[in-house]
Symmetry: C2
Subunit: 303 residues, 2 copies
Amino acid sequence: MADIERILAGDLRAMARAATAIENRTAPAEALLKELFPHTGKATIVGITGPPGAGKSTLVDQLTRTLRGQAKSIGIIAVDPSSPFTGGAILGDRIRMQSHHADAGVFIRSMATRGRMGGLAAGTFEMAMLMDAAGRDVILVETVGVGQDEIEIARLADVTAVVLVPGMGDDIQAIKAGLMEIADVFVINKADQAGADRLELELKAMLQISPQHGGLDVPIVKTVASEGQGSCEALDAIFAIKAAKSSDGVGIWKLRLREMIRERLLERLPLHELDEAAVGVAARRQNPYAVVEEWLSRLKLTS
Amino acid sequence: MADIERILAGDLRAMARAATAIENRTAPAEALLKELFPHTGKATIVGITGPPGAGKSTLVDQLTRTLRGQAKSIGIIAVDPSSPFTGGAILGDRIRMQSHHADAGVFIRSMATRGRMGGLAAGTFEMAMLMDAAGRDVILVETVGVGQDEIEIARLADVTAVVLVPGMGDDIQAIKAGLMEIADVFVINKADQAGADRLELELKAMLQISPQHGGLDVPIVKTVASEGQGSCEALDAIFAIKAAKSSDGVGIWKLRLREMIRERLLERLPLHELDEAAVGVAARRQNPYAVVEEWLSRLKLTS
């Protein structure tokens, strides 16, 4: 049986091999994804994002337990802001996730930051495609939601839950504002701590002035993930949003096609010429804007 | 006098107008940057990055005070992870920075996350070019160092200082690892708090196993920025690194030329065709990998 068939049948070892190929961005991975693509589009992809310390991993753990209780198969992608060389090994998250390691119904992979722009969102999307094609019902994508990458990842999810906790400082205010525009639902985790009600009021006030959400109802769910409280309510809110959105996926694919072309374009161009120009630019003998204009004027799309 | 000459003479109002044009990515901004380019390459660009709550803004404030005492002119770019619609207004940072607002020797701008990939790093680099051409001696670029964008920004700086504080949790461990590869110098801020010595030992241990740094000496400076302690030592370390690196800038420009082309390429292509393909892809009638392959095969660089 070929790898593609094994994956479509949900074979864990074939999935693991494919996931590694996707992580390493090999050419066979691209060929595989091309074959898997027609079998995608069935899973619900849920983004779980929020600042460091919000308890996202614990929440993902609890959501997974609840979904497994409903006999749903799960994929988890932990997007890891750490560098490739350390991998995800030092993340406390991983240790907590071990509680599912013996359950074949939970397939977990982490995606580490790659050295090139946009690579993280692209890789995460491809990993979700793999899990989707392999028949996973729900794919949970966990990110530390503070950068542009995480916002791009959220755009590719069906539903994005932003996890916050009471009592964070000034910097978090800014992050909260940045996450406001991608939130389909807010989860106030550690809701048994002081300040949970105040945070809820703040969020409601921010939602009212937000151009994305003004007048719209964005649910706010309170959880104490470490004790399993609120995870059913959070899932109910997530699936209600998924049902109400009923996206046709065209918007996502407009974005993805652009990204796929952007990612691959440079590989097709004679970059050694560009590197020679960089020498002249660094010495201020050549002007980078002139170099780029000239290149772009030479680029033609034939029919 | 034309705007370009005013900027080269350091005129604050002309700089402010140009900065706004760069933020808004107008066509005149690109023409202006093209003219400014030959006058760049003199400033020292210092990236100041680290997780939320590390006290980066307070440190930037103190470094600014110290540099002003040495009669150096300063540019500050605060890279803001919040969304464009909230601007930087809610950041506590901005309030602290007001202490320099009456000093013409300190030019401050913030860069908000834009809606497209790579835009933040590009915009930050252009803003630094403006300040450089206008004769600023040192440009401090402050980012919340947790995403790919921030790592890209760090690559464009001459020297990157990573700011950490004692006593952060698991998530911070991961961020620390991600920042490890971009750090030219570590600043342990709030070094009067418990755990500062332990953090220093941890960093030294991480540096030893890091392939970037293995065996190399990365200075670790302790500061209490809120009381002005350690800012001279931090600057000494930064300038010593700048002197030792003596980069010719070719590496940076290889990267920048690629990014400039990547950013501009899609604008030159007939995107309505791609949007039509997205409809077929979303309905699983067309395969995105086939669509992209076909486009790329039609793209030619004429000589």
